[in-house]
């Protein structure tokens, strides 16, 4: 469950990256226009907006029959659905014509219809529609209502019904429903009796598998048929994961799944639902396997990926492998990530990139490769910095990996920006990273550490980060910096620490407790008070608390620990210059805490730049705010890292 949430987290954040405003687009086109109108002298400094512009076509999805690619594009300042006919481009068209609400998300329900939502946030009421791609007829799926919905994976129609879990009956209980595609009332399939969090649909449209969780323990349940009772197949401990990917073709009692039961790393396994026996299909000794590559339509695992040194894609299906090799040969030196494959391998969506090239999204259709959208196109012909994998031993001998990106200009010793990732249950991966490239372009070596507690590097490594906020986690980061200094790479007088969320917490913690190591700290909505952070889990999610008691600690029993590691209680110790960003809607910090912290810093005459944006959340999303965010970072680092 925890892992799954993490995975969703990654997905969600990626989706957010894609959902961006209109203003941005105007800004970007305007600025590129100005830029191209300027002189042709190639400047060293690349404008900030070039790093952070977003494509105007997003969310590409192949239709089940592989004939169409749908995407979200801007029309009338709103995101609308467009479909591209791959064999006959002339019949490509716009499907929706909304001019006041964005399409939030959509999916192909069948070969001919798409389901979409135009809710503006997950707090908004539920507004779901179907659109027929031929007649362009739009119908509401069911009447607008005020509850949450989570589609079962895969989101597609089975015999005219869509499966979803909703808290329609009782707002505190999620039940399983099926929703007729032609419209009408959702039909209750199962009342949730076992604290299920997820159900999994089989290829015949029956729901046989469910996952329950009390956040410490996950349980996998199985029933042979919908009229039978769910039986518990297995349960996992708090650090282990079992996540069903989908059924195995022609074998009813087996599924493909990701699992790290009895093993440190997550492997792709075939799980016997009767016995609970696992057969490992694919694993990586260094890192966890990712949850992609399973084709529901074919009921087989086509390929698997893992974020090793770089993202490694292994193709199991021979036919697909040939196509993949064909594609890869066209993009020599680039990584090619498969996004989606249709069941007949006619159409493949993929993304190419390197660490220095943002690349683009392409489709392959019957031997032809075409670009759908470039990513950060203005960076394509620019010289950017390579990202190198590094590894060092922390003080207790743990092997810690990370990435180092040097600026292009060679120097004896580099000013270093330590970019701490959020989470801490996330990780940095090799690939194109706008933020890293921006900092490297401004002359700083960028140091990213996958400190203990980062996910994807094995169970043991993940658990090692429990209750180590400000402890071993911080030590890993500091030891990495010490290692850089010792190696003669970092200029010991010019090291900055920066991050968002947990990264910001780490930066603020360093500002309080590591005054000699860092020159300055940059925090973007960094957690200031862990008591407040803990409060974000509402009381009715009591189960979550159990997990977080393990990850951070128990605020009631271990309040001394909480006090010791919360920057708010140590604001008096801060002496180094601090740059702070805070979104007014960040739920992990209260403004009361932030204001107290800022006031204390100010009254101690700490050099503090504090930027508050009331309508932003933890991460700034509005384009003008993103630009301002990086402008401030640039100016602050320039001043402090002289």
């Amino acid at each position: 469950m925890k892992y799954v949430r993490k995975l969703f987290y990654l997905n969600r954040s990626r989706r957010f990256m894609n959902i961006k405003g209109i203003l941005k687009l105007v800004l970007v086109t305007l600025s590129t226009f100005i830029y191209s109108c300027g002189d042709s002298v190639k400047e060293d400094l690349i404008p900030i907006q070039d790093f952070f512009d977003r494509p105007d076509h997003t969310n590409f999805k192949i239709s089940p029959d592989g004939k169409w690619v749908a995407y979200l594009g801007l029309e009338d300042h709103c995101k609308n659905i467009f479909i591209l006919n791959l064999s006959n481009p002339d019949s490509s068209k716009q499907l929706t014509y909304q001019n006041s609400l964005n399409v939030q998300y959509y999916f192909w329900a069948t070969n001919d219809s798409i389901v979409f939502s135009n809710a503006q946030s997950y707090q908004d009421s539920l507004r779901l529609f179907t659109v027929d791609i031929h007649s362009e007829q739009i119908n509401p799926l069911f009447e607008t209502s005020k509850h949450t919905i989570k589609w079962l994976s895969p989101a597609r129609a089975f015999n005219g019904y869509l499966f979803a879990q909703m808290n329609r009956r009782d707002s505190t209980v999620i039940d399983l429903y099926k929703i007729p595609l032609k419209g009408g009332q959702p039909i209750l399939v199962d009342e949730n009796s076992n604290h299920f969090n997820d159900w999994f649909v089989s290829s015949d449209g029956k729901v046989r598998i469910a996952l329950s969780s009390d956040s410490v323990q996950d349980k996998l349940w199985y029933r042979e048929d919908e009229n039978k009772r769910f039986k518990e197949v297995l349960e996992t401990d708090f650090a282990s994961l079992i996540y069903p990917l989908g059924p195995v073709k022609d074998i009813n009692n087996s599924i493909y799944a990701l699992s790290n039961r009895g093993r440190d790393k997550v492997a792709l396994v075939r799980l016997n639902l009767e016995s609970g026996q696992e057969t490992i299909l694919s694993k990586n000794d260094e890192v966890d396997m990712n949850a992609d590559g399973y084709s529901f339509a074919r009921q087989e695992v086509l390929f698997s990926t893992a974020f090793d040194k770089r993202k490694a894609t292994t193709i199991y299906n021979k036919e697909l492998k040939n196509i993949y090799l064909q594609i890869s040969s066209k993009f020599e030196g680039n990584s090619v990530d498969i996004i989606e494959v249709d069941s007949s391998f006619n159409t493949i969506l993929f993304r190419t990139y390197t660490d220095t090239n943002p690349g683009g999204i392409y489709y392959y259709h019957k031997g032809i490769i075409k670009e759908l959208t470039p990513l950060n196109p203005s960076l394509r012909d620019k010289k950017l910095s390579h990202m190198e994998e590094i590894a060092f031993d922390s003080r207790d001998g743990k092997r810690i990996k990370g990435y180092l990106t040097y600026p292009l200009k060679k120097q004896d010793k580099y000013p270093v920006v330590v970019l701490v990732h959020d989470g801490p249950n996330r990780r940095d991966v090799w690939g194109f990273n706008s933020e890293v490239q921006f900092l490297a372009n401004r002359g700083y070596a960028v140091f990213q550490v996958n400190f203990r507690g980062s996910v994807g590097l094995g169970k043991e490594f993940y658990v090692a980060g429990f209750k180590q906020w400000g402890g071993e986690i911080q030590n890993d980061i500091n030891d990495g910096v010490a290692w850089l200094i010792h190696k003669g790479i970092a200029d010991k007088d010019r090291v900055a620490i920066m991050g968002t969320g947990f990264g910001g917490y780490s930066a603020l913690y360093a500002a309080c407790f590591n005054p000699t190591m860092y020159k300055c700290a940059i925090s973007s909505s960094g957690y200031i008070n862990l008591f407040t952070y803990f409060k974000e889990f509402p009381p009715y999610y009591n189960s979550y608390k159990q997990l977080y008691y393990r990850i951070i600690g128990n605020p009631q029993k271990e309040y001394e620990l909480f006090k010791a590691i919360s920057p708010l209680f140590h604001a008096d110790k801060v002496r180094m210059p601090v740059l702070m960003f805070q979104g007014g809607k960040d739920r992990y910090n209260t403004m009361t805490d932030v204001n107290q912290f800022v006031q204390k810093l100010r009254s101690n005459n700490v050099e503090l730049t504090y930027i508050y944006k009331e309508d932003e959340g933890r991460r700034f999303r509005k384009d003008e705010n993103i630009i301002e965010f990086y402008q401030n970072i640039e100016a602050f680092l320039k001043e402090q890292m002289k």
């Binding site: 707002s171 407040t532 409060k535 919360s566 805490d593 204390k600």
Partner: protein, 558 residues
Amino acid sequence: MARFDSRYKKNLGLLIVFLLFVTLLFVISVFFARTITTNFVQTDFNNRKAEVFDETVKDFNEFFQEKIPEVAYYQGFMDSVQAKDFSNSILRKYPFVQKIEFSDILFTNIDSVERQMRIGNFGASTKSSYLYELTSDYRLQSSKQVSNGDLSSNEELYSIFLKLCTYLGRDNVDTSRISNTDIYNLFYNIQPGKISYMNIPRMTDVLSFRSMMVDVNYQKSSYEQDFYVFYILPTKIQINNKYPNLYENVSIKPVVDQYILDEAVFLRTEIALPGALSDYKLQFVTSEGHITKEINKWFFPVVGILILIYLVLLLLGYLIYRNVLANNRMYQLQYDFINNLTHEFKTPVSVIKIAGNNIKSAEQLSEGEKNMYGRILDQEADKLNSLMNKLLSFAQIENKSIKFNGEFIDLNEFCQHMFESTRIKYPDLNLKDSVSVKSEIYADPILLTSVFQNLIDNAYKYSNPTNRFLEIKVEQTKKNFVILFKDRGIGIDKKEFNSIFKKFYRVKNQFNQQGSIGLGLAFCKEITEFMGGEIKVESELNVGTCFMLIFPIVIKKV
């Protein structure tokens, strides 16, 4: 001899007026200084109280603005152990906090939980309640409060709960943030002597509270909150009297103070205390003696400065007066000189006039007579000439209008000439000479001749005609030429050593009757120094005088 008194009158009247004026000025300024310092100190007395006030309530403000919000840091996670720690630190740091009451409260919509207060489905109850205070021997004493389930038993909590519910019950609650005024209104309850505070929940919590109150079907949940009542005793506030010189006594007094005893209080002022302290005021009191001390502290230095100015003015007056006196004496001296000079000129002129008349009236001049008159005329004309030369060259030297035509002179040769001419001039002078020099002296030959001539003349003139003796010794030391003129004349009194080189000064004696104007030695000194040398004198009355000329040896540049 007529005196021109009209020129240099010592006007005593003017002097006295000046003195009186300055003294009057002094007295007036002292008077003003007194008035101004008195005003200044009294204004200060009224103005500085704000600073004392700030200093005094600093601790309280720190407590109120920094310590109390710290409760919110814990986000309701405080239990009795933490509360005890927290209270302990506050009670010890801030003596004006008399006691602290801590309640661990629960906001809930769960029916099974006993809710002491309840509005809609939203209720609050006290899980536990503790009272912390310091005993007289500074030990923390904590006592668990027994709640009797009665609402009125916890008046403060009830009041905050009501306010919160009123806020939650509003139709349009801003769901993004609570405004600052709302925060103050909702979570603080400030009464004289008491501050109640509930930790400020996160916005999402507030929204949940609202849903709990409004929505019957809302998830059953409960939130822990921490609630504190701080009892404040303003009289325990440490008064920090920054200006003990101004305020003899600063004290915290109840606002209503009926029994004011007006004993020896000269100045009084007060400031009301803020917020929870508002039933007390800060009172500043000072007696007359105390304030006078303070006034004097400012006044005396001012008077000191005034006296100094007064003295400087007097000194200036005296200096001007003295200068006038000196000028007056100088004038007198020059006046005498002109008198003498006229006299000196008159003698040869009248002799010439008599000789001329005699020649004119004589019918026939014998050879003897002709010779006599010729000699007389020649002599007197020489005398006049020499007088005028002396006067002229002296004036030139005084005005620095002579150029120093220095050249290297062989002293042997130069002295030989001098001695020969002296022997011719004064055949009755017993002149002894000795010259032993190797180098040549750098000097103006004309001026040097003049010095020699003067000194030889003096030696001749101030000697008994029976014993006219002069010894001239020219020697060379390592650095200097030393020329000695030693006579056996009448000598000079030691008292007059300083004066003889002054202009127009003449030693009074019988040898000093004619042809002397008191310039000779002054002239010698001027030109000797003009040529870079110096002149010294040694003498004994009735034994002899010795003048010594010292010139530095100048290396001849090739």
